[in-house]
């Protein structure tokens, strides 16, 4: 019996450093932000209890609702593009017999590049007057675009950039799912004389749904708190057109130093992300086989 206690004690000691670190750097700050969200910071840097004041301010704040709209606009657009191109790429990769390591490295490269570097390179490529993108458009006889400088184009443009960066990531996840599908289902389909498109839409894609849902969850977490790329390229502009909730909350906190209200914004955003993950996780369980 004493030996068993020892074992338990030793196991606890192995996770103790991580536990202390987690409480200090994650748990305590998490609760502190929630606590802050019920307070107002006075001009003299004093905290004053404010009840639900920050949250009722939020409900009446047009910029919050605008940020919420931009966040979801960017989320759905990016997610749709990344799933479509990701699955398409995965099928291409799966069907090619040999995949040299260099090809794998190539498809890994976009999402390992820091988001800020992605922003820097696309700022140059998408420059409205001298950028390479508009030149490529002109080769196909298409009119130039203002890209990130246009209030109506900035969200789709950011979605396109993010799709360039993350569709290969979705593709590699889906490729993993494709490789783990039992070969017997294809053989059965072949014996039944199913055509390629029928096999794809009736067999492969339905079987892939759980993997696609996994990719959806992982991308949702990042897309709903979109920050780096927008902060580097537009900082929410032009004219607030790309002002996501995360960007807005950051500005309220670290440019206007309204810690109480910024906390309320951040708690709200966290609830949205967590809610989305839980909902999507339910959906994944529903399509599991």
């Amino acid at each position: 019996m004493e030996k068993k206690d020892n074992t338990r004690l030793e196991l606890a000691s192995l996770s103790l450093p991580a536990l202390i670190f987690t409480i200090g750097m994650i748990g305590f700050p998490f609760l502190y932000t929630i606590w802050l969200s019920f307070h107002a910071v006075t001009p003299a840097q004093q905290l004053k209890f404010n009840g639900l004041g920050n949250y009722s301010h939020l409900a009446a704040d047009g910029e919050f609702w605008h940020g919420l709209f931009v966040t979801f606009e960017l989320y759905f657009l990016s997610l749709a593009l990344q799933l479509i191109f990701g699955v398409y790429l995965a099928l291409l990769l799966f069907r090619s017999k040999r995949l040299p390591g260099i090809v794998r490295s190539l498809f890994i490269s976009p999402f390992l590049i820091p988001g800020v570097v992605t922003g820097m390179m696309w700022l140059v490529i998408l420059d409205p007057s001298l950028g390479a993108a508009n030149y490529v458009l002109s080769l196909f006889g298409l009119p130039p675009s203002e890209w990130l400088a246009s209030p109506s184009w900035v969200v789709p443009t950011v979605a396109i950039i993010d799709t360039w960066q993350w569709a290969p990531y979705v593709a590699l996840i889906v490729l993993g799912g494709l490789q783990s599908l039992p070969p017997s289902v294809y053989e059965a389909a072949e014996i039944d004389g199913a055509s390629r498109s029928k096999t794809l839409f009736r067999i492969t894609l339905p079987l892939l749904l759980p993997t696609i849902m996994t990719a959806t969850i992982l991308r949702s977490v990042d897309l709903l708190r979109f920050f780096d790329l927008i902060y580097i390229t537009t900082q929410g502009g032009p004219a607030n057109a790309s002002d996501t909730l995360n960007i807005y909350g950051f500005r309220v906190g670290f440019e206007f130093f309204q810690f109480g209200y910024a906390s309320a914004l951040m708690v709200t955003l966290s609830v949205i992300v967590l809610g989305a993950v839980l909902t999507l996780n339910r959906l994944r369980a529903a399509v599991a086989w």
């Binding site: 700050p29 800020v116 570097v117 490529i125 007057s129 030149y135």
Partner: protein
Amino acid sequence: MLDSPKSDRLFNLLNTLQLILAGVVVAAPTVWMVLSSFKQSYEVTAYPPTLIFSPTVSNYITLSQTTPFLHYGLNSIIVTVASTAIGIILGTPAAFAVSWTRVTWPAVVALVARMAPGTLFLLPWYIMFRHFDMIGSYWSLILTHAVITMPIVLWVMLPFFDNIPHSVFEAGQLDGCGPVKIFRRIALPLVSTGLAVSSILAFVFSWNYFLFALVLSNSDTKTLVAASFNFIGEGSTNWGGLMAAATLIALPPLILAVVVQRWLVSGLTLGAVKG
């Protein structure tokens, strides 16, 4: 058999062609960034853009002479290496304990930490570090970046520990070894691949992380990624220099990507694709 060998060959050819096209689209922006960094200032803004030019390293020389690029680079290395080390030191034994006991709350907490927006933690950290007069210190950056690295290490290491047959541990226990001894003497040597993969992933994510250093660093401790903002300010007149900076900042993650590409994907999904 519905598909004749001939249509099979055509299908494969079309598939390869589409794959090449996709590869070009994926590679083009990065290649363009690297090419632009070797162009003279009059060539980098040439319109129509040129593919053929006489390369120069002048942008890189100017960058190191007119900006504290090397100093920022050193800051990045300090913060990244230290936070990766902390992540490994904290995360590896925790992953071992989770794998042994199947008590999963540390893994769940780590996952929640990954899901919450960084700004949520940044507010209290900012107040905390300001209270201890630590804003602009390396430690504020190292500790906050360890919040990124530790969950990565925990989740990447978990399947590696899970894959060790339980009989190995039982044999150790029969020899009178406790979990700490088993962890050090038996388990750690068996998961060296996992340690390499998780170190590299932690390194890449810490190197790339922007938000924390944006607020918690000062002009002396700025990391490269946080300093990229300065380069953009200057870059409006100097694309060559901007692309040289971008290329150098992206280089460490890209090199590591080539080294570990085989294990990277399973690590990046944090074990989510299992089953």
